[in-house]
Symmetry: C2
Subunit: 240 residues, 2 copies
Amino acid sequence: MAATVRERRRQETTDAILRSARTHLEQAGVEGVTLRAVARDLDIAVSALYRYVDSRDDLLTELLVEAFTEHADAVDAAVDEALADDAEDVAAAIAAGLRAYRAWSVAHPAQFGLAFGAPVPGYHAPAGRTMAVAVRPGGRIMGLFATAHERGLVDEEVLTARAATLDDGTAAGFDALAARQSYPLPAPAIALAVDAFVRVHGFTVMEVFGQLRPLVMPADAYYEQLLTELVASLGLSRAS
Amino acid sequence: MAATVRERRRQETTDAILRSARTHLEQAGVEGVTLRAVARDLDIAVSALYRYVDSRDDLLTELLVEAFTEHADAVDAAVDEALADDAEDVAAAIAAGLRAYRAWSVAHPAQFGLAFGAPVPGYHAPAGRTMAVAVRPGGRIMGLFATAHERGLVDEEVLTARAATLDDGTAAGFDALAARQSYPLPAPAIALAVDAFVRVHGFTVMEVFGQLRPLVMPADAYYEQLLTELVASLGLSRAS
DNA sequence: GACTCGCGAGAACACTGTTCACACAAGAGA
DNA sequence: TCTCTTGTGTGAACAGTGTTCTCGCGAGTC
């Protein structure tokens, strides 16, 4: 509480550094995030930056966490809005979340690339800081699916069909995942959710990284159709 | 034919440069591909490299093309082997190709990252040199699927079901793709193939980039199950 | 009022890609 | 065989990069 003047000033320049770095990330990609460029923006010596940032990697980590957080926030916001519209329609909430998953990614390609692209040259994200926030979108969707499962909205036939194709090892892995993350779902249900998530993420990656354009022209329509198919594949029907 | 001595020596050092660059790519990622490191390997001045390579980007392009080519070769080899085993079992050939698609990627993460990861900082691949080879695996699978379609091996019900979920815009895009690449397939069939390909590529990307490990533990078993499901989703049944 | 210590500056080092003028030697043509 | 073009290699230089030092200043603290 005491040294608020110093602390506030420190926080301000820290924020300014992050804002500058973010701008350069968006405009020029990871390679554009340069300590000297940031220093120029703040009209400061490069060495002064080291009072606020341990290294360039540290700065990238900050941007990475920010990206993960905003991505997860976007998904959360979409889910919340859908639930506010109709709290009973879990299927619609899941679709909204997955829709936002892609929408944010397409709108923020540089951040998405930093978060989900090939490991940045020479930079290895510290799992400690990123892991927790990286799994937030998946966790939210999984939570919704668990609610649906509890309410008996998940088609039993779909579950048994998935169980039939599930080998013991994979099932054990899913059970472990459920236990670790406290998902109240049986292995076949986890499998269905992972199936869907892989498709969503795969599509998003391909679109953002430009591997989709040669294949699918109107990506929006295709993705919408994919979403309805995914909801069905989860054994859910668009309620109400 | 004449100046073979010079030309052979030139080819040799060019190859040595590429081999050195490739080693550094595999061992240290893209950032490890450094003109100075290559020059040290060949015990040569850095500036001498510019006699063989236009720029570092040019060298990366060479590595990129090599990666795409080897990836496609791996898929081709697997398909050929499967066809040699049983030329009639197109489903098995498709599965073999998609299996190789992932296997090569997992075995060569650095090359895969260069080819399919986030755009490398400051480097933009020239579409002219890469596009043709980048689409080879997809093209091969699509060709197999076309053969299956011609032979009437594709379940009509699956096709009509897919057609029902296909909007006009996306269908037109798929028709255009078929025409452009000379795939003798109707839009719903293209849609099925693209669906499957997105899942394969999505899974592979997630595995290579480390986003799968938290979700799916024994990736091999999961992928095998995915393959059989994909073959079924294409309306094919494992023949003979 | 004295003094600590957070903050900024500037130089320096080791890297990177790229370009230049220069030298040398090997192959081509006479 | 002699000349001479041309391919090849060299070292220095320039403009960048991250990072680390020493040096000060001045605002907040006691």
